[in-house]
Symmetry: C2
Subunit: 135 residues, 2 copies
DNA sequence: TAATATAGTTAGACTATACTAACTTTATTA
DNA sequence: TAATAAAGTTAGTATAGTCTAACTATATTA
Protein backbone atom coordinates (compact mmCIF):
# COMPACT_ATOMS: atom_id res chain seq x y z
CA UNK A 1 0.00 0.00 0.00
CA UNK A 2 3.07 2.20 -0.19
CA UNK A 3 2.56 4.54 2.81
CA UNK A 4 -0.59 6.58 3.19
CA UNK A 5 0.85 10.04 3.59
CA UNK A 6 0.73 12.35 0.60
CA UNK A 7 3.48 14.56 -0.77
CA UNK A 8 2.72 18.14 -1.78
CA UNK A 9 2.70 17.03 -5.38
CA UNK A 10 0.18 14.25 -4.82
CA UNK A 11 -1.97 16.63 -2.81
CA UNK A 12 -2.06 18.89 -5.86
CA UNK A 13 -3.28 16.04 -8.05
CA UNK A 14 -5.90 15.05 -5.48
CA UNK A 15 -7.10 18.62 -5.18
CA UNK A 16 -7.37 18.89 -8.97
CA UNK A 17 -9.44 15.70 -9.10
CA UNK A 18 -11.76 17.09 -6.45
CA UNK A 19 -12.16 20.50 -8.02
CA UNK A 20 -12.79 19.19 -11.51
CA UNK A 21 -15.44 16.81 -10.18
CA UNK A 22 -17.10 19.78 -8.47
CA UNK A 23 -17.06 21.86 -11.63
CA UNK A 24 -18.01 19.22 -14.19
CA UNK A 25 -19.56 15.79 -13.86
CA UNK A 26 -16.41 13.70 -13.90
CA UNK A 27 -12.65 13.89 -14.23
CA UNK A 28 -10.34 12.82 -16.99
CA UNK A 29 -6.58 12.53 -16.92
CA UNK A 30 -6.34 15.12 -19.69
CA UNK A 31 -8.24 17.67 -17.61
CA UNK A 32 -5.90 17.18 -14.70
CA UNK A 33 -2.95 17.45 -17.04
CA UNK A 34 -4.19 20.78 -18.39
CA UNK A 35 -5.10 22.23 -15.01
CA UNK A 36 -1.76 21.40 -13.43
CA UNK A 37 0.30 22.03 -16.55
CA UNK A 38 2.02 18.64 -16.50
CA UNK A 39 2.37 15.84 -19.04
CA UNK A 40 -0.43 13.27 -19.31
CA UNK A 41 2.03 10.56 -18.35
CA UNK A 42 2.75 12.33 -15.08
CA UNK A 43 -0.97 12.26 -14.33
CA UNK A 44 -1.10 8.50 -14.91
CA UNK A 45 1.75 8.01 -12.45
CA UNK A 46 0.09 10.21 -9.86
CA UNK A 47 -3.28 8.49 -10.24
CA UNK A 48 -1.67 5.10 -9.70
CA UNK A 49 -0.11 6.32 -6.50
CA UNK A 50 -3.28 7.98 -5.23
CA UNK A 51 -5.19 4.75 -5.90
CA UNK A 52 -2.51 2.64 -4.17
CA UNK A 53 -2.78 4.87 -1.13
CA UNK A 54 -6.55 4.62 -1.06
CA UNK A 55 -7.49 8.17 -2.03
CA UNK A 56 -9.14 7.44 -5.37
CA UNK A 57 -10.79 4.58 -7.23
CA UNK A 58 -8.98 4.02 -10.45
CA UNK A 59 -7.77 1.36 -12.89
CA UNK A 60 -6.26 1.35 -16.38
CA UNK A 61 -8.45 3.26 -18.83
CA UNK A 62 -11.14 3.46 -16.19
CA UNK A 63 -13.25 6.19 -14.61
CA UNK A 64 -11.70 8.18 -11.76
CA UNK A 65 -13.58 8.81 -8.51
CA UNK A 66 -12.72 9.83 -4.98
CA UNK A 67 -12.90 7.42 -2.05
CA UNK A 68 -14.29 8.70 1.24
CA UNK A 69 -10.76 9.20 2.46
CA UNK A 70 -9.88 11.06 -0.73
CA UNK A 71 -12.91 13.30 -0.54
CA UNK A 72 -12.21 14.16 3.09
CA UNK A 73 -8.58 14.89 2.39
CA UNK A 74 -9.30 16.92 -0.74
CA UNK A 75 -11.87 19.02 1.11
CA UNK A 76 -9.37 19.73 3.85
CA UNK A 77 -6.76 20.91 1.36
CA UNK A 78 -9.28 22.99 -0.54
CA UNK A 79 -10.42 24.60 2.71
CA UNK A 80 -6.87 25.57 3.55
CA UNK A 81 -6.46 27.08 0.14
CA UNK A 82 -9.54 29.24 0.59
CA UNK A 83 -8.53 30.38 4.04
CA UNK A 84 -5.05 31.31 2.90
CA UNK A 85 -6.21 32.98 -0.27
CA UNK A 86 -8.67 35.07 1.71
CA UNK A 87 -6.10 36.12 4.25
CA UNK A 88 -3.51 36.97 1.62
CA UNK A 89 -5.81 38.89 -0.69
CA UNK A 90 -8.41 40.49 1.55
CA UNK A 91 -6.35 41.15 4.65
CA UNK A 92 -2.79 41.53 3.41
CA UNK A 93 -3.80 43.00 0.06
CA UNK A 94 -1.70 40.65 -2.04
CA UNK A 95 -2.59 40.76 -5.72
CA UNK A 96 -4.94 38.03 -6.90
CA UNK A 97 -2.63 35.84 -8.91
CA UNK A 98 0.15 35.87 -6.36
CA UNK A 99 -2.28 35.24 -3.52
CA UNK A 100 -3.45 32.16 -5.35
CA UNK A 101 0.02 30.87 -6.13
CA UNK A 102 1.17 31.44 -2.58
CA UNK A 103 -1.91 29.75 -1.11
CA UNK A 104 -1.22 26.79 -3.43
CA UNK A 105 2.12 26.29 -1.77
CA UNK A 106 1.28 27.04 1.86
CA UNK A 107 -1.80 24.79 1.83
CA UNK A 108 0.49 21.74 1.85
CA UNK A 109 2.51 22.75 4.87
CA UNK A 110 0.06 23.96 7.50
CA UNK A 111 -1.71 21.66 9.93
CA UNK A 112 -5.47 21.55 10.42
CA UNK A 113 -4.91 23.25 13.74
CA UNK A 114 -3.06 26.23 12.24
CA UNK A 115 -5.79 26.51 9.61
CA UNK A 116 -8.47 26.60 12.32
CA UNK A 117 -6.60 29.28 14.22
CA UNK A 118 -6.25 31.34 11.08
CA UNK A 119 -9.98 31.00 10.34
CA UNK A 120 -10.87 32.18 13.83
CA UNK A 121 -8.45 35.05 13.60
CA UNK A 122 -9.91 36.22 10.30
CA UNK A 123 -13.47 36.08 11.68
CA UNK A 124 -12.49 38.03 14.74
CA UNK A 125 -10.52 40.55 12.77
CA UNK A 126 -13.32 41.20 10.31
CA UNK A 127 -15.87 41.56 13.09
CA UNK A 128 -13.82 44.27 14.79
CA UNK A 129 -13.12 45.89 11.48
CA UNK A 130 -16.80 46.17 10.62
CA UNK A 131 -17.59 47.64 14.05
CA UNK A 132 -14.99 50.30 13.55
CA UNK A 133 -16.19 51.20 10.07
CA UNK A 134 -19.82 51.47 11.08
CA UNK A 135 -19.33 53.58 14.19
CA UNK B 1 27.27 27.62 -12.70
CA UNK B 2 24.25 25.37 -12.63
CA UNK B 3 21.39 27.89 -12.20
CA UNK B 4 21.32 30.42 -9.44
CA UNK B 5 17.93 29.76 -7.92
CA UNK B 6 17.79 27.78 -4.71
CA UNK B 7 15.47 24.91 -3.83
CA UNK B 8 13.78 24.81 -0.42
CA UNK B 9 16.32 22.23 0.64
CA UNK B 10 19.33 24.35 -0.34
CA UNK B 11 17.75 27.34 1.38
CA UNK B 12 17.65 25.28 4.56
CA UNK B 13 21.36 24.53 4.27
CA UNK B 14 22.17 28.16 3.59
CA UNK B 15 20.10 29.29 6.53
CA UNK B 16 21.85 26.79 8.77
CA UNK B 17 25.25 28.08 7.65
CA UNK B 18 24.17 31.62 8.41
CA UNK B 19 22.69 30.88 11.82
CA UNK B 20 25.62 28.79 12.98
CA UNK B 21 28.03 31.54 11.95
CA UNK B 22 25.95 33.98 13.98
CA UNK B 23 25.98 31.75 17.05
CA UNK B 24 29.58 30.52 16.97
CA UNK B 25 32.70 31.74 15.20
CA UNK B 26 32.55 29.47 12.16
CA UNK B 27 30.64 26.61 10.61
CA UNK B 28 31.54 23.00 10.10
CA UNK B 29 29.80 20.42 8.01
CA UNK B 30 29.19 18.33 11.11
CA UNK B 31 27.34 21.20 12.80
CA UNK B 32 25.07 21.63 9.80
CA UNK B 33 24.51 17.90 9.71
CA UNK B 34 23.41 17.88 13.34
CA UNK B 35 21.22 20.94 13.10
CA UNK B 36 19.34 19.73 10.05
CA UNK B 37 19.34 16.07 11.05
CA UNK B 38 20.86 14.84 7.79
CA UNK B 39 23.90 12.71 6.95
CA UNK B 40 27.29 14.43 6.68
CA UNK B 41 27.51 13.32 3.07
CA UNK B 42 24.33 15.19 2.28
CA UNK B 43 25.90 18.32 3.70
CA UNK B 44 28.92 17.92 1.44
CA UNK B 45 26.66 17.68 -1.60
CA UNK B 46 24.68 20.73 -0.56
CA UNK B 47 27.81 22.78 0.12
CA UNK B 48 29.14 21.96 -3.33
CA UNK B 49 25.92 23.18 -4.88
CA UNK B 50 25.75 26.34 -2.79
CA UNK B 51 29.34 27.13 -3.77
CA UNK B 52 28.66 26.43 -7.45
CA UNK B 53 25.74 28.83 -7.33
CA UNK B 54 27.82 31.51 -5.64
CA UNK B 55 26.24 31.59 -2.19
CA UNK B 56 29.20 30.32 -0.18
CA UNK B 57 32.97 30.09 -0.43
CA UNK B 58 34.00 26.51 -0.07
CA UNK B 59 36.43 23.88 -1.30
CA UNK B 60 37.33 20.34 -0.26
CA UNK B 61 38.30 20.16 3.42
CA UNK B 62 38.25 23.93 3.55
CA UNK B 63 36.63 26.59 5.70
CA UNK B 64 33.05 27.59 4.87
CA UNK B 65 31.99 31.21 4.57
CA UNK B 66 29.14 33.17 3.07
CA UNK B 67 29.56 35.31 -0.03
CA UNK B 68 27.77 38.67 -0.14
CA UNK B 69 25.02 37.08 -2.18
CA UNK B 70 24.77 34.24 0.33
CA UNK B 71 24.63 36.56 3.29
CA UNK B 72 21.92 38.66 1.69
CA UNK B 73 19.87 35.64 0.76
CA UNK B 74 20.29 33.98 4.15
CA UNK B 75 19.22 37.14 5.93
CA UNK B 76 16.12 37.36 3.77
CA UNK B 77 15.14 33.80 4.59
CA UNK B 78 15.86 34.29 8.25
CA UNK B 79 13.72 37.44 8.26
CA UNK B 80 10.81 35.57 6.76
CA UNK B 81 11.17 32.91 9.39
CA UNK B 82 10.99 35.47 12.17
CA UNK B 83 8.00 37.24 10.68
CA UNK B 84 6.11 33.99 10.22
CA UNK B 85 7.05 32.64 13.61
CA UNK B 86 5.86 35.86 15.25
CA UNK B 87 2.58 35.84 13.42
CA UNK B 88 1.92 32.18 14.13
CA UNK B 89 2.85 32.24 17.78
CA UNK B 90 1.94 35.71 19.00
CA UNK B 91 -1.08 36.46 16.86
CA UNK B 92 -2.55 33.07 16.05
CA UNK B 93 -1.47 31.47 19.32
CA UNK B 94 0.16 28.44 17.73
CA UNK B 95 2.31 26.47 20.16
CA UNK B 96 6.01 27.23 20.01
CA UNK B 97 7.37 24.10 18.40
CA UNK B 98 4.71 23.94 15.71
CA UNK B 99 5.02 27.64 14.99
CA UNK B 100 8.69 27.08 14.34
CA UNK B 101 8.22 24.03 12.14
CA UNK B 102 5.51 25.73 10.14
CA UNK B 103 7.57 28.90 9.69
CA UNK B 104 10.45 26.70 8.48
CA UNK B 105 8.29 25.48 5.64
CA UNK B 106 6.43 28.65 4.70
CA UNK B 107 9.62 30.73 4.63
CA UNK B 108 10.59 29.04 1.36
CA UNK B 109 7.38 29.76 -0.47
CA UNK B 110 6.51 33.39 0.20
CA UNK B 111 7.87 36.28 -1.83
CA UNK B 112 9.62 39.29 -0.34
CA UNK B 113 6.52 41.27 -1.14
CA UNK B 114 4.19 39.00 0.84
CA UNK B 115 6.65 39.10 3.70
CA UNK B 116 6.64 42.91 3.67
CA UNK B 117 2.87 43.00 3.66
CA UNK B 118 2.75 40.61 6.57
CA UNK B 119 5.23 42.72 8.52
CA UNK B 120 3.15 45.84 7.96
CA UNK B 121 0.00 44.05 8.91
CA UNK B 122 1.50 42.81 12.17
CA UNK B 123 2.74 46.30 13.06
CA UNK B 124 -0.63 47.83 12.34
CA UNK B 125 -2.47 45.11 14.19
CA UNK B 126 -0.33 45.41 17.29
CA UNK B 127 -0.64 49.18 17.32
CA UNK B 128 -4.43 49.03 17.31
CA UNK B 129 -4.37 46.24 19.82
CA UNK B 130 -2.29 48.28 22.27
CA UNK B 131 -4.59 51.30 21.91
CA UNK B 132 -7.57 49.18 22.72
CA UNK B 133 -5.94 47.64 25.78
CA UNK B 134 -4.80 50.98 27.21
CA UNK B 135 -8.03 52.88 26.73
C1' DT C 1 -17.76 -0.45 -39.80
C1' DA C 2 -13.29 1.05 -40.97
C1' DA C 3 -10.31 5.06 -40.55
C1' DT C 4 -8.82 8.51 -37.77
C1' DA C 5 -8.44 11.37 -33.86
C1' DT C 6 -8.18 11.66 -28.98
C1' DA C 7 -7.12 9.85 -24.55
C1' DG C 8 -4.40 7.08 -21.77
C1' DT C 9 -0.32 4.20 -20.76
C1' DT C 10 4.38 2.45 -20.70
C1' DA C 11 9.29 2.65 -21.05
C1' DG C 12 13.29 4.98 -20.50
C1' DA C 13 15.86 9.13 -19.24
C1' DC C 14 16.91 12.89 -16.10
C1' DT C 15 17.10 15.95 -11.79
C1' DA C 16 16.98 16.53 -6.98
C1' DT C 17 17.66 14.79 -2.52
C1' DA C 18 19.07 11.74 0.86
C1' DC C 19 21.09 7.51 2.62
C1' DT C 20 24.99 3.91 3.90
C1' DA C 21 29.52 2.24 3.61
C1' DA C 22 34.09 2.83 2.51
C1' DC C 23 37.80 5.79 2.12
C1' DT C 24 40.77 10.14 2.89
C1' DT C 25 42.20 14.07 5.35
C1' DT C 26 42.91 16.60 9.48
C1' DA C 27 43.27 16.91 14.46
C1' DT C 28 44.33 15.05 18.93
C1' DT C 29 47.01 12.78 22.22
C1' DA C 30 49.79 9.08 24.25
C1' DT D 1 55.82 11.60 16.02
C1' DA D 2 53.07 7.64 15.36
C1' DA D 3 48.51 5.91 16.43
C1' DT D 4 43.92 6.90 16.80
C1' DA D 5 39.82 9.54 16.58
C1' DA D 6 37.00 12.81 14.33
C1' DA D 7 35.64 15.21 10.32
C1' DG D 8 34.88 15.26 5.58
C1' DT D 9 34.41 13.10 1.02
C1' DT D 10 33.22 9.79 -2.59
C1' DA D 11 30.77 6.08 -4.67
C1' DG D 12 26.88 3.68 -5.18
C1' DT D 13 21.85 3.02 -4.10
C1' DA D 14 17.11 4.57 -3.56
C1' DT D 15 12.83 7.44 -3.89
C1' DA D 16 10.03 11.04 -5.88
C1' DG D 17 8.72 13.60 -9.61
C1' DT D 18 8.88 14.98 -14.11
C1' DC D 19 9.59 14.67 -19.17
C1' DT D 20 9.47 12.74 -24.24
C1' DA D 21 8.50 9.27 -27.46
C1' DA D 22 6.29 5.29 -28.71
C1' DC D 23 2.50 2.41 -28.13
C1' DT D 24 -2.50 0.90 -26.95
C1' DA D 25 -7.27 1.66 -26.14
C1' DT D 26 -11.42 4.22 -26.81
C1' DA D 27 -14.40 7.49 -29.27
C1' DT D 28 -15.86 9.87 -33.28
C1' DT D 29 -17.28 10.20 -37.85
C1' DA D 30 -17.21 9.63 -42.85
Amino acid sequence: MSELKLTASLEDYLEAVYEIIEEKQGVRASGISQRLGVARSSVTEALKLLAAKGYINYGRYDVISLTDLGEKKAKAISEKHKTLYGFLSKILGVEDKEANLTACKIEHVISDEVNDKLINFIKQYEKERSKKVSK
